[in-house]
Subunit: 266 residues, 2 copies
């Protein structure tokens, strides 16, 4: 049985794994978190492309049948390129997130938050415009959100201050829908709701990504249906020591991970 | 003429370069900022050791005569090990910083702030205790300071909130001297003074590091004295694209860098 390969710059991609496991319970999943080189969002395009290529090569050697780039930064910068290079189907998180936002917005004002690199590419904006050019998109980089989440959300006051400041242009633009364009951000949902108002619709790509993976596997006739759940494998790899990953994984995944393998592939 | 090699996880080590250039004006300097893998302070010991070894090998191939580990995290975790491996003299920033703090404290209460990895090693504490066991040391990790500085200090309120929270135990311990145990922190001096009070003595290792390098080179008879300044070289290398480095370098260095080389050594 071939697995679905998922990679992220670090731990945030586990929010996608969680949703894949829910919607595709019979699929093996191999995860790679590039925790030694995290974050990607502050780095340049050529470096993000290089890291993405290396991650894909690693997953290919784990004998996967499908690859999910669970990192928004890598998706927005490298997906179009790597899709041309490799035979294996590769999906990112931008298009699914954009699609979902277009579907749920009522006032046609959509906000996007992400890392500096993701926002620089305007990838969400161009996907949304392609789907519905009448939608007004407002984008903001939130560079401190990733370190705030990774630090474990102990600084509620600082998180609230940062969110208030970053989200100001989005409030002003009166968006009714906000794309959480970074896999870390779902963990900040409560504070983002507090700042944006309780009516804001928060879009996190994981749900839509998983349903697109499901459709793609079904279309190619390689979807696993009904097999003993005890045979289903979830394999977690990281490039730094697993300690921090193990400590944080539960918050993203909803359950405790016992075994994480450290890989040295670069 | 052989150069002095200096490396840091990113851009912060330029504060050391600045001081080296001031105290050793006739020395060539080769700098390496591992901007593709920054930060180090959130990563594990084995990964930091690996990065340090790779950085040293890179500098050795640039034909240097002396190596300065300008990164507190790498110094505290990897220095003792790498000193055993290589013939070239290697100096870190911990011991010089500790020495200076011991010299200037009057109430024998010293504070240390640094990354999570640096504080975990208690490297400053053990150096200070070795020099003067009667000194009481209080240490605090400040994980958000690096992203706050790299983001360009645009969030004065957030910076102040973070500093107030992190420095609380140090105020309580009534330290009169505070070691800035990370090369990024000198850029936060104004806010740290505001929180700690204007009488606080802030120790940044750069000054003492440069004077120890000078003494070491002189002792070995390899100190360059008096040669045309136009022949003196300052070479800057980074592992990510130079854009961000170029944009921030002036704030650390005090002058504009025109040429930065991107190297791919891993």
């Amino acid at each position: 049985v071939k697995a679905i390969g998922v990679f992220d710059s670090g731990i945030g991609g586990l929010t996608v794994v969680k949703e894949l496991a829910r919607q595709l319970p019979y699929e093996d999943i191999v995860y790679l978190g590039d925790t030694a080189r995290v974050p990607y969002g502050t780095k340049s395009e050529s470096t993000i492309v290089r890291f993405t290529l290396e991650n894909i090569l690693f997953l290919l050697r784990q004998d996967v049948k499908f690859i999910v780039i669970a990192c928004n930064t890598a998706s927005s910068i490298a997906l179009e390129l790597v899709k041309k290079y490799f035979q294996i189907p590769i999906i990112g998180v931008i298009k699914p997130g954009a699609k979902q936002a277009v579907r749920v917005t009522r006032n046609k004002r959509v906000g996007v938050i992400g890392t500096a690199a993701t926002i620089r590419t305007a990838a969400y904006e161009s996907q949304i415009r392609r789907l519905d050019p009448s939608i007004k998109v407002t984008s903001c980089a939130c560079p401190l959100f990733v370190p705030l989440v990774e630090e474990g959300q102990r600084n509620q006051k600082i998180i609230f201050d940062a969110a208030s400041q970053y989200l100001k242009p989005l409030k002003k633009a009166r968006v009714d829908t906000l794309i959480l364009g970074c896999t870390h951000y779902p963990l900040l949902k409560p504070v983002i709701k507090k700042v944006m108002g309780r009516d804001i619709i928060l879009v996190d790509s994981a749900l839509q990504v998983a349903s697109e993976v499901r459709a793609a596997l079904a279309a190619e006739g390689i979807l696993n249906v009904k097999r003993p759940l005890k045979n289903v494998k979830r394999i977690f790899n990281v490039t730094d020591e697993p300690r921090t990953f193990l400590a944080l994984a539960e918050r993203f995944l909803g359950y405790t991970v016992n075994k994480v393998k450290k890989v040295d592939y670069v």
